[in-house]
């Protein structure tokens, strides 16, 4: 450890970096790379959001109006892939790049050059995904889960998707190795593991999950590729394979993946809540253990996505019990946040609003998660709009709201300027309203029997689909306000003090000026 530490400081910090575009292409600075990750993910968020609006526009009324069924399926597929792999995951890596070194008192990430490479891999991957709309046969249309044999039937678009997933996986693995190494080896003297900020803890655990499951995804898409082009039959019964095996392998990646997208949000919220409650996080060690338990449990619950695929009774019961168990550590987290707020001295700036909004809506998503875990009920709601509502409650009002909380919380440190509080709060309340308008009604659509991934529906679903579409357009437009707030902050926000949040206690606020200098912590701080 000492050797690595010394080595990190052996690098020369040359301030004469290239300017213009070359600065961004060649940069090895964690702040530059973090910024690029964040802008990239926001661009992908708008792209995936546009696809979502296409879907909602088609579903505004019964009948086929805008998107023919084949194109509709391409929209749903690419919406899922782009949001998961292009928007949410890179956004969290962006936060890790900016915040992990600042919060542990390190000068940069452990592997600075690999860091550059992990970012720039995202560009060809995103290009492959987006351009697949324009190849013969169009983009992949088998859902973001691309189950064979349907995905074996697809055209060139599926191959582009497979390569995109490969590249994104490589990028994620490199990013995770970098984060793990940085956290384990480059903490400031005195910062023991159990003194790390919660955001760092959640990312450490997330990075381990990523290293564990991304190769599994790479394996399964490779098998799909060879099934498509090289005559293998992994997923083809006629050749001795099994289509359901794909689902098992995919979800062995896919379920930890959903925790990869939520654990860092827990970390962000665990920073924001204590800051604005002016009170230390309640039950720090139980929060760490809860995060680790969730990560471990997430690896043994994958088949709850497949309760209708056919499974022995004991299999269904095991996966039902294991899934329900996840509610316990998740509940512990919610109780700890509540106890942190209890008898605090709270103020409600935008980051705090988003953090509370996160808890409120994430708990609703958690409840519908428990309901989906109950096998008999899942038999009814699986592959319906109920599930769509469930995972948007945990991914949009979960991950995305936490990302917003984090962006508002740390933007003063990143840019040296304050955002407009009134506009920030407006962004929150509009997001809150339109989010619920879009997704709450989808629970009822699912219960009443509307399957997901259909371009047209029976008249009984018409009114709530219309409400949902109106909400979606409102939510989409609201996010342009976020873009405006951020640009306005970067360009002409008021100058921020070193510590705009008086309750903040982590190193980036207590030990660094605002904005954080290009090279920070060249000498490590000492943590008491």
């Amino acid at each position: 450890m000492a050797a690595v530490h010394g080595d990190a400081h052996g690098h020369e910090h040359d301030d004469h970096h290239p300017s213009g575009i070359m600065r961004w292409i060649t940069t090895t600075n964690h702040k530059d790379i973090g910024t690029m990750y964040l802008w990239f993910s926001f661009a992908m968020f708008l792209t995936g959001g546009t696809l979502a609006l296409g879907i909602r526009a088609e579903l505004f009324q019964p009948g086929i109006q805008i998107l023919q069924p084949e194109l509709f399926n391409q929209f749903t597929t690419l919406h899922g892939l782009i949001m998961v792999f292009g928007a949410i995951m890179p956004a969290f890596v962006g936060f890790a790049n900016w915040q992990v070194p600042l919060m542990i008192g390190a000068p940069d990430m452990a592997f600075a050059r690999m860091n550059n490479w992990s970012f720039w891999l995202l560009i060809p991957a995103a290009t492959l995904l987006v351009s697949s709309f324009f190849v013969p046969g169009g983009a992949a249309a088998g859902g973001w889960t691309f189950y064979p044999p349907l995905s074996t039937q697809g055209g060139l678009g599926v191959d582009l998707m497979i390569f995109a997933v490969h590249i994104l996986g490589a990028s994620s693995i490199m990013g995770s190795i970098n984060i793990i190494t940085t956290i384990l080896n480059m903490r400031a003297p005195g910062m023991t593991l159990m003194k790390m900020p919660m955001f760092v803890w959640t990312w450490l655990i997330t990075a381990y999950l990523l290293v564990l499951v991304m190769p599994v995804l790479a394996g399964t898409v490779t098998m799909l590729l060879t099934d498509r082009h090289f005559g293998t039959s992994f997923f083809n019964a006629a050749g001795g394979g099994d289509p359901v095996m794909f689902q098992h392998i995919f979800w062995f990646f896919g379920h930890p993946e959903v925790y990869i997208m939520i654990l860092p949000s827990f970390g962000i919220v665990s920073e924001v809540i204590p800051t604005f409650s002016r009170k230390p996080l309640f039950g720090y060690s139980s929060m760490v253990y809860a995060t680790a338990s969730i990560a471990i449990l997430s690896c043994v619950v994958w088949a709850h996505h497949m309760f209708t695929a056919g499974m022995p009774t004991v299999g269904q019961l095991f996966f039902m019990y294991a899934t329900m168990l996840i509610a316990v550590p998740t509940g512990v987290k919610v109780f700890n946040w509540t106890a942190t707020m209890w008898r605090g001295s709270m103020t409600f700036e935008t980051p705090m609003l988003f953090a509370i909004g996160f808890i409120f809506l994430f708990v609703i998503g958690g409840f519908s998660g428990v309901i989906c875990a109950i096998v008999p009920i899942d038999i009814q709601v699986q592959d319906t709009y109920y599930v769509i509502a469930h995972f948007h409650y945990v991914l949009v009002s979960g991950s995305l709201f936490a990302l917003f909380a984090g962006a508002y919380y740390w933007i003063p440190k990143w840019t040296g300027r304050m955002y407009n509080e009134t506009l920030g709060k407006t962004h929150f309340w509009l997001s809150m309203f339109f989010f619920n308008l879009t997704f709450f009604v989808q629970h009822f659509l699912g219960l009443a029997g509307m399957p997901r991934r259909i371009p047209d529906y029976n008249l009984q679903f018409a009114d709530f689909n219309m409400i949902s579409s109106i909400g979606a357009f409102g939510f989409g437009l609201t996010q342009l306000l976020f873009l405006y707030v951020m640009i306005n902050c970067i360009r002409s926000g008021e100058k921020a003090p070193q510590k705009p949040w008086d309750g903040a206690t982590t190193l980036e606020w207590t030990h660094l000026p605002t904005p954080a200098p290009y090279h920070s912590f060249e000498k490590p701080p000492v943590v008491q």
Partner: protein
């Protein structure tokens, strides 16, 4: 304080009213028509109530705190940050609640999976994009037909007004007798489909090259509609499932009529 409890009471009763409306409305699970569907319906309602109670408990505390413990009211922050006893309590209680939820669910899972000794067996085969049915065993053995969407294309393209059963109507319904245990064997010809009839509490994927099975017993005569529930390509949204449950006598007549027309059809094919 009294006005506050009155407000709380009003809020709770509004929520109760709201959820009881959902029970009777078209936005809940459809009215159950089989033992399993009834179990599912009841468990869903039970879970909703449990979730509602927890929700009110947790957010009652949180929003009390949000209202009272604010800096703008001059509230000074306390400094407690740890309690092992409290952590143990709020780990154990959720575990107990989960046991309450898991017990009835386990019984239903075991019942759902018991496809033994059926009165009749029907094989359903998923095609892109329609269903094929073969009556394999029991009264009606040998009957075989395809079942396709019967909604005219013009309705989908908004050139004709949409009917009540828009996208949920087929040319040939699956007909079954009331009160008989029907085992459904599923497979598919091309990609994965899923056979779903919400009112009967039955959904099972149909996997090409493999056989899956499930069962239902319709309690009452009626027409029960469902849809393919696994993305299967372009016309995934256009391959509904319609089950018609009949009294035993009616069903026998239907079988007789089918057998007669089946002879005709096969002669027609051979010609």
């Amino acid at each position: 304080m009294r006005s506050k409890s009155a407000v709380t009471l009003a809020g709770v009763s509004a929520l109760a009213l709201y959820s009881s409306m959902a029970v009777g409305s078209k936005y809940n699970l459809p009215e159950p028509q089989s033992v399993i569907a009834k179990d599912i319906y009841d468990q869903h309602i039970l879970l909703l109530w449990i979730c509602l109670v927890i929700f009110i408990g947790v957010f009652g505390v949180m929003f009390y705190s949000v209202l009272k413990h604010r800096k703008s009211l001059g509230y000074k922050a306390a400094n407690f940050h740890h309690s092992t006893a409290v952590e143990i309590i709020w780990t154990v209680i959720p575990c107990l609640i989960l046991v309450v939820m898991a017990y009835p669910a386990t019984k239903t899972v075991i019942a759902m999976k018991d496809t033994s000794s059926p009165d009749m067996t029907i094989k359903a085969t998923g095609y892109q994009w329609m269903w094929g049915y073969d009556y394999l065993q029991g009264e009606g053995e040998g009957i075989s037909f395809y079942s396709k969407l019967s909604t005219p294309r013009a309705q989908v393209e908004n050139k004709a007004p949409k009917g009540e059963n828009y996208l949920l109507e087929v040319d040939n319904r699956v007909v079954v007798p009331v009160g008989k245990k029907v085992r459904v064997i599923l497979t598919a010809n091309d990609v994965i489909h899923a056979w779903w009839v919400p009112a009967l509490g039955i959904k099972q994927d149909a996997v090409p090259g493999f056989i899956r099975d499930t069962w239902f017993t319709a309690d009452k005569p009626g027409i029960y509609r469902g849809q393919c529930a696994e993305l299967c390509g372009k016309d995934h949204g256009f391959m509904p499932i319609v089950v018609e449950a009949m009294e035993a006598g009616e069903y026998s007549k239907w079988v007789a009529a089918q057998s007669a027309s089946a002879v005709k059809t096969s002669m027609h094919v051979e010609k």
